[in-house]
Each structure stands twice: as C-alpha cells, then as structure tokens.
Symmetry: C2
Subunit: 408 residues, 2 copies
C-alpha cells in the first residue's frame, strides 16, 4: 500500500490509515493529519506522465491516495491552463511570469481538486452523506461533485457568505445550513454535527485527504512548464489548505525523484485578515476577525495554519499582505493583462506578486507562477463594485457615434 | 487555398474571399455569407486528429479558415467536457444521453469558440479595434479574447443585458456602449458604427467567420463520442448562429469523408420568444419582442435565421419551445442530475430535450447530445430566483442538530 500512515502535524504521532479518522486523538482539532507515503512503492516517470491521455487531475492517480481502480466522480477536473503573462511581464520588467487559472475548474475554483479526491474517498467509505463548512467555494464545489456522484450533502456556511455562492450550492441540491455566525463557528458546528450524525467530513482543514487533491495543482504547474519547477509560486491564504497542497505537491515530486527543487511559496493575505503573516513574522498566532473584500480568505482562525506555516518556512517562502484597494486594482489588472477573470481572493495572489515586483523584490529572470484560485463570476458584486457602469445612450446613430468618439 | 469563396445565404451570389466583406452587396444585412471550402484540398484523418495533443479547438485548425501558421489568441478554448448523463437516463428511461458543457470555456460560454476565430481573423486583418453587439455573452467573450490578444473593443449591449454580464466585459477593459433600446437596435447600431469608424466587426450574425468557430463544438462531440455522430443534438436558439455552427460542423465532417451521418438538430426556444419555431411551422418569419428569463436567447429578430432554418431543415431537425417555468425547472434539474450548472439560455436545450423525452418522442436507444451553452454563474440572479434561501440558524449545536434532522 502506498499510503503507510497518517501523521499528526502538531505532535508527530502516527496513526494507521483509516477512512474515519480525521485528526490526532491527542491534539484534537488542532492535530491535523498528514498522509504519509511509501514513495519507493510508487513507480512513475516523466515519460509515463507525458504519455497519459487523461487531461484531468486523475492523470496523477498513482501519486494520490487512491487505488488505480477506485471510482471517481465524473466531473472533469484539473489540467487548468497555465498562461504566459507577456503583457504583465512587459509592464513590470520581468521575463518569466505565468498565471495558473484554476477558475476553469467545474465549479470554478481550485477547491474542486479537493472535492474530487474527497468525494472519491467518500465513495470508497460507502458514505451516503458528506458534510462540510465553507466560506462558499468549498461548499459549492462539494455540492457539484456530490451531485454528479449521487451523494447527499449537508453544508454549513457563515452568514456573510455571498448569496451567489449560496445559490450555487442550492442549485446543486445541497442541504444548506446558514449559521448566524462566523465561518470559524460554522466550521466547529460542522465537525460536531458530522460526529453526531455519522456523516463523512469534507472539511479541507480537517479531512487529511483533501490537501492531497489540492497538491495536483503543483504537479500540473511542473508538467506544464515542461517538467520544470518555478522559482516562486504566489498563492492567497485563507485556511492555509491550498498553500499546504502546493507544498505537498512539490514535496512529493522531490521524494519521487522527479525534481530536486522546491519553489519559494509566497502566501498572500488581505491586510484586513492576516493571521498567517503575523504568525510568520512574530512566531505567534493570534485569532483575528476576518475583514476584507476577499471573502474566500476572510479566515481569522486558519484551521490549517500549522501545515501552511511549515510549507512557507520549509520552502524558504514568505507571507505578505495586500490592502483591499490593491485587491480591487488587481480585479481589473489581471483580466485586462491576461484575459483571466478572478474573484477577489483569486486575484489577491496577483496583488501580492505585483507588490513584490514593484518593490524590485523579484529578479527579472525568476520563473514566477501566480495561482488564480477562483473565477470572477463567483463574486460578480465585487466586480461590479470596481467598474463604472456606463450611462445608457439614446439609440440614435449620431448620438452613439459622438459617444464612441470619446471612447477610442 | 482551402477557402474558395463566400456565398450569400439568401441569393446564392459568391464573393472572393475577403477580410472586410461581411454581407452580400445585393441582399444587404440579410445576405449573410457562408464560408465555402475546397474540401478536397483538406487532407485530414481520424488517426491524425486522435494523435493531436492540442486539447483545444485549435486541434481542428486544418478545418478552420486559418492557415496553419496563423497566430491565435492565447486563451485556452474548446475541448469542453462531454458527460454521460446516467442519472438523467435513469429518470427518463433513455440509454444514451450526453451533456456537452460549453460553460467551461474561458469566459464561460460557447461564444468563446466564435471569439477565438474572430480575434484570430482580426489579428490577420491587422485590426486595432473590434466592434460587436451582444445580449451579453458574445460581448464578454470578445472582451476577454481581445484583452488576451491586446486588441481594443467597442461593444454595444441593450439596456436589458444583465449587470453581471456587463460587469464581465468592463472588467476586461471593453469600451462599452449601453444602448437605451433592444438588442436588435444595438445590433444595427454596431453595424453602422463599424462602417463609420472602420472597426473590425465580430457580430456572429454578420461576420461569416464566427460560425466557423462555433462549428468546432460539432467536431468535438463527434470525436468525444469516439468519432461517432449522435442521433440528435439539442441546442437553444437566439440569433441562430450556434445552430448554424453545429450544422456546419457536421456538414464539414461529411464533406471531408469523416462521417456519413448528419444528426437531427433540435432547436429549442423560449415560448416567450420563438420566431424560429413559428417560421419552421408556418414558413413565415414574423419579428417578435423578446420576453423570457433566458436573456441570451431573447432575440425577436434572429439575424442568422436563414442559416438556422436551413440547418434545422436539412438535418431533418425541428424547432420547439419551452415555457419560462420549464426553463426554471431545468435550472435545477440539470445541475442536480449531472453536476453541470447552466444559465437560463444554456439549460433551455435541456428543457426541450426533457419535453421530448416525456412525450416519448425519443427512442430509448437514440444517442442524444444536449449542449449547455453558458455557465450558470453568468446569471446568478436567475439561479437565486429559483432557490429558496435558507433562514439563518442560531449558532448553537442543539438548534443546528434539530434543524439538520429535518433536512436528511
């Protein structure tokens, strides 16, 4: 078996592989587990990967905690485009900038990678109902994947989750509980209810298999760069699961002998909610209130902070923050520069990259990948808030021509 | 040269291939041109296509009106998933039902296929500004592709275009003119302004190259079914361009000797705006007011009606309509049954398919493909309108547990 144990991130205790163990029995909810592999048992080569015609994250099934024959949900997920950002390079005097657009996943966010593996594990466990808490994206993602696989879902969202994200999960038929409180409290309740009702838990900062799905974004970046690891990866941080997934992906590649390099992982938070940045700088974690336009990363108590901080430190990375005004600017700059339309939390990584670039913190030859974690259509209200809606023009050719002259 | 002439759909007059001719000089705006190929000059085989590693619509570049070396805009477009709809099959007693999810394109609608080819032709023409009118999707699509290619856009939208769609094109930096009138008038104005200012025109029901982009959806359906043509294709109809593209794609495959079969193309309109259905039944076209929840197909004067009607007739197809209530039901049934979340115009095709299935109009063994033309995130207000937003629950474990009991 390629997965050998599940190891507590906090105390290091190892547990036998099990589908119904989520956290360490000593450390409780803070003792998130890491899936440990016997890498020697996984035989894989670049040639084998290059020849695989399955252009989805399942092309890496050998490197995932699933048997070759394990059934998976039907939605096409992963293998999202990696674009060279030439216009952005020109604007900032850089030569190797790429954008990975994970807003192209089936429910339009990177969370689909986690849901794909989470629902596959739920199928393996014979689960009838999956439960999760989410600021929005993980919820709609789970709802979509569960619908495609015919499994019920109970989802907890905080009161501040945007209506659009709630609608997306209702559309998929998820049983939705809007908790009159913060995301952090919705998370706690989802864990309690999961235990009470015997549901399968898909919380990424709880179920250790979820990060395993997210790590595929690193595999793809590596393969799409021609089996090359970039110098830096910029990614926004909420709970810290995506950061952990990015690290785990490159870590796996190193352990499997497929690369010798780990990129510097630069986490980007909103300055209105930056507990990971503070913890990186001070060594101490302090809970915060989430206050930012980037609702998906408005996480004051990042559940996966231990994994995330380890990922940033061991990759020689960093955590920075950007203001909501910088996020608002990025909401326009990314699509205008690349054709990629991201949601606020998605373009936060771009805002952080730009901050570094303007501060001349990036060498012009460094190979940089910026991950857009969610589609801009997920939060159209924020997009509307940064645009000036044009005033309607009378439908008369002279009036219109005069108006067009002012535009071009 | 593989393209030989451009032929008027109305009077049959042929014109030399030209980048700045859009319509017939005899028939005017109603004389939409069709791109005519010398099929013998195109050498292509299933084996060659199967071996192509470019999983985008450019894998069919040989079958498009572009030279092999022609530059194309960078956004990854096409090769959207074709899903087997097993749950839907079970519900309706059918055995071969598939959903083609074109909401997975870069700006989340099938229009991206047209924009990809349109912008490639604009690059070929050396155009600096592209102009178009749109009910929304074609506009945001053009805006996204033009942004990625560094070309300016001037876009005309009618007053009733949803704010979310307008925001999407503003985000991409398009110069946007909201015309205080209908789509039909916005279309006319875009044509007049194009001429006045010497812009490149990307209107699908005007620029004959656009349908050529849309035809790739037929190529993909054929290839993804294992180089097999389905018995029926359901597609919603607004201007009639997608219908025309689907027909042209299968027509090309027949002319190239790659298949001998044309599927029955079943157009689906909203009963509040069904001029093509009326024209099919009565032989006469009467302009209508567009009145339906499915704004993308609220087209009372379908510009490409001649091509669309020809496509329906020559494929032994039909045109039917569904009520807004049926469209609202489909907004929930499609995602719950397949994991595919479509916008109202997108799920209209599904509603039409279901109407036929319930009327036992489809043989259980027929191979049916339903095209979802746009992502549900494009029009979240419509999604919200069919969902019941849950009342927030107090963040107390007993209260939440009692509530969850009522849900599962």
């Amino acid at each position: 078996m390629k997965v050998t144990t599940m190891k507590c991130m906090k105390c290091g205790k190892e547990f036998p592989v099990s589908l119904d163990r989520y956290v360490c029995d000593v450390c409780g909810i803070e003792g998130i587990l890491d899936i440990i592999y016997d890498y020697k048992s996984i035989e894989i080569s670049k040639e084998e990967i290059a020849q695989n015609r399955d252009y989805s994250l399942w092309r890496y099934k050998k490197m995932l905690p699933l048997e070759e024959s394990a059934p998976v949900p039907p939605l096409q997920v992963g293998w999202t485009p990696l674009y060279r950002a030439s216009k952005i390079e020109d604007q900032l005097g850089l030569n190797n900038v790429y954008v990975k657009d994970d807003g192209r996943n089936p429910t339009a966010s990177l969370k689909d990678r986690a849901s794909a593996v989470g629902v596959a594990k739920a199928i393996e466990a014979g689960a009838k109902t999956i439960c999760a808490a989410s600021t929005g994206n993980a919820a709609s993602s789970l709802a979509g994947f569960a619908a495609s696989a015919g499994i019920k879902t109970v989802i907890f969202v905080p009161k501040r989750a945007p209506k659009a994200k709630v609608a997306q999960l209702l559309v998929y038929g998820a049983k939705t509980v809007i908790v009159d409180d913060s995301y952090d409290r919705a998370f706690e309740l989802s864990v309690e209810i999961t235990e009470k009702f015997g549901f399968y838990n898909r919380n990424c900062a709880y179920n250790p298999y979820l990060v395993e799905g997210k790590k595929t974004v690193a595999f793809e970046i590596w393969e799409q760069l021609g089996f090359d690891v970039p110098d830096r990866v910029y990614v926004s941080i909420g709970d810290g699961c995506i950061t952990s997934g990015v690290y785990k992906g490159f870590y796996d590649l190193m352990q499997l002998g497929l690369t010798e390099k780990m990129p510097r992982i630069i986490g980007v938070q909103a300055s209105g909610c930056n507990p990971i940045e503070v913890a990186m700088k001070t060594g101490e974690f302090t809970p915060q209130e989430g206050n930012t336009i980037a609702d998906s990363i408005a996480v004051g108590v990042p559940r996966n902070r231990l994994k995330a901080l380890k990922s940033l430190k061991e990759s020689n990375g960093d955590c920075i923050s950007v203001t909501d005004d910088e996020i608002r600017s990025a909401l326009l700059e990314l699509p205008r520069g690349t054709g990629v339309f991201g949601e606020p939390a998605g373009v936060t990584a771009f805002a952080g990259f730009k901050k570094h670039a303007l501060a001349k913190d990036i060498d012009s030859e460094e190979k940089v990948v910026i991950i857009n974690t969610g589609n801009g259509l997920k939060d159209i209200d924020s997009a509307i808030s940064v645009c000036t809606m044009p005033t309607p023009v009378a439908s008369d050719v002279e009036a219109v021509a005069a108006h067009v002259k002012t535009l071009v």
